[in-house]
């Protein structure tokens, strides 16, 4: 394993229902690096994330995470409906987590303090996703795994939450593994774009995203990727 790696993942083969679904997928992520795992629906993005999280061990290969502190956002918020928003955060946090920290995190993801006392059933989908992001951050994760975290949210909220993730990664050296099929989201926050596609899915590309201040280079990548990976024409561009 690379000395400073926060995540090393190597899937030689993953079989599901007798059929290989992933083959030769491997990457190493450094501290504070944001990797966008990109691919069409059914390309195995979620499966790769589950393997990275240790939820799926039925594969040939290995996964190494030196830092056990994981933060996760699944495709659905997975909030416990019988616990208030604040208690959903406390559930996963250290016992001595302060009310101030919870309030700061909720404010950080754009939720008003009054939301802390509400049950999740009172929240909109956008608020529930923000709560799930705050819950992922309350553990001070070393690795943050986000599975289509902002799907079906409006572009403004998506950009806002993407900025929260990017800021957290830069400030606290949190490694982020983000599954998405939104090209603009990947271009907005990722350091690298990993493309999964094919049958079985393989890692087709590991592309470094240029400095975002270089608008021309970003634009060139925005045009180049759909040309190289046709599935992006229908799923990625906005």
């Amino acid at each position: 394993m690379r000395g400073d790696a926060a995540l090393e993942l190597r899937i030689i083969e993953k079989v599901f229902g007798g059929q290989p679904v992933l083959r030769d997928v491997g990457f190493v992520a450094g501290p504070g690096e944001i990797l966008a795992l990109f691919g069409p629906s059914g390309a195995g993005k979620s499966t790769t994330l589950r393997i990275a999280l240790g939820l799926d061990r039925d594969f040939i290969g290995h996964v190494r995470r030196p830092d056990a502190r994981l933060g996760v956002m699944f495709q659905e918020p997975r909030l416990l409906p019988w616990l208030s928003v604040a208690n959903n955060l406390r559930l996963v946090a250290r016992d001595d987590v302060s009310d101030e920290k919870i309030a700061t995190l909720l404010t950080g993801v754009g939720l008003p303090p009054a939301v802390a006392a509400l049950l999740p059933g009172k929240l909109s989908l956008g608020m529930a996703r923000r709560t799930a992001l705050a819950r992922a951050l309350v553990v001070d994760p070393g690795l943050l795994v986000l599975d289509e975290p902002f799907a079906s949210l409006d572009p403004q909220l998506t950009a806002q939450l993407g900025a929260v993730v990017a800021r957290c990664a830069r400030a606290n050296a949190v490694t982020v593994l983000l599954a998405t099929h939104e090209l603009e989201q990947a271009l907005a926050i990722a350091d690298r774009i990993l493309v999964l596609s094919g049958s079985p899915s393989t890692l087709q590309a590991d592309i470094a995203v240029p400095d975002r201040r270089d608008a021309a280079a970003i634009d060139a990548l925005r045009r180049a990727l759909p040309a190289r990976f046709p599935f992006l024409e229908s799923s990625g561009g906005r």
């Binding site: 996760v72 699944f74 416990l80 409906p81 019988w82 616990l83 996963v92 049950l119 059933g121």
Partner: protein, 255 residues
């Protein structure tokens, strides 16, 4: 809306109860034979005398203790087995034939065999009731365990939640409605079986008293004990079990 609905419901219940007593009174008057069907007043008088002498309260107290012991034992054992059966296919496969057999075994057979094998004592009485009741708790709680959200299990695994916290915060709230349902139906079954157990092999309790009244053809005594005990079980259900079940579902209403 809830208070407006609650009052008529309470009024209708009271009306229904008054209707029952009125019908009973009318039937007793038509029968005109207090030995065959005594009226409500005669039965209430027997209850009052039983309370004053302490005989009825003593017998009811003993029966309630047996009901409580058998209920707690069967809920504990049934809930634990139900969770195992719902969470593990192997445990389910091992338990299922036992559940089917015990569910279909007549309660009377279990009671008689318990007395024959263990002896005419409290252990046999409580054990017999628990053996009859446990399978129904297992079946209900097993359904709850099968319905546990695997997504929340994954959440607990990712965050390495301690076992106790998982049980308290994730598993218990999901199982609570099933355990409450098993408790409510369980209490009704338990006390009826306890009376049979007492009738067949105990020297005290409501079942024993009913047997004596039956042998003396004392219908007023039978009705007095039957009604008094049913009223107490109804009170327990409405003051303890129903509020517990409402609490188990409270977050759904709050959502």
């Amino acid at each position: 809306m809830v208070p407006r609905l609650a009052f008529p419901a309470r009024a209708e219940r009271l009306l229904s109860l008054l209707g029952f007593f009125a019908l009973w009174w009318l039937a007793a008057a038509l029968a005109a034979d207090p030995r065959l069907l005594p009226g409500p007043q005669a039965v209430l008088a027997v209850i009052w005398q039983g309370v004053l002498s302490g005989e009825m309260t003593g017998n009811i107290g003993i029966t309630l203790a047996r009901v409580a012991a058998a209920f707690v034992l069967s809920m504990l054992v049934g809930s634990v087995l139900g969770v195992f059966a719902g969470r593990s296919r192997r445990a389910d496969a091992l338990l299922d034939p036992w559940i089917i057999i015990t569910l279909n075994l007549p309660a009377l057979v279990v009671i008689v065999l318990a007395y024959v094998w263990v002896g005419l004592n409290e252990t046999a009485a409580i054990l017999a009731v628990a053996i009859v009741k446990v399978p129904t708790v297992v079946v209900t709680v097993r359904e709850g365990a099968r319905a546990l959200d695997p997504g929340l299990d994954e959440l607990a695994a990712v965050y390495h939640l301690p076992r106790l916290r998982r049980l308290q915060r994730i598993v218990a709230p999901q199982l609570a409605p099933y355990i409450a349902a098993a408790g409510r139906s369980g209490l009704a079954i338990t006390w009826k079986i306890v009376l049979i157990v007492e009738l067949l092999g105990r020297p005290n309790g409501v079942g024993y008293a009913l047997n004596l009244f039956f042998q003396n053809f004392d219908v007023a005594g039978i009705l007095a004990y039957g009604l008094a005990f049913a009223a107490i079980m109804l009170a327990i259900e409405t003051t303890l079990l129903q509020p517990w079940e409402r609490r188990a579902h409270a977050w759904r209403r709050g959502a």
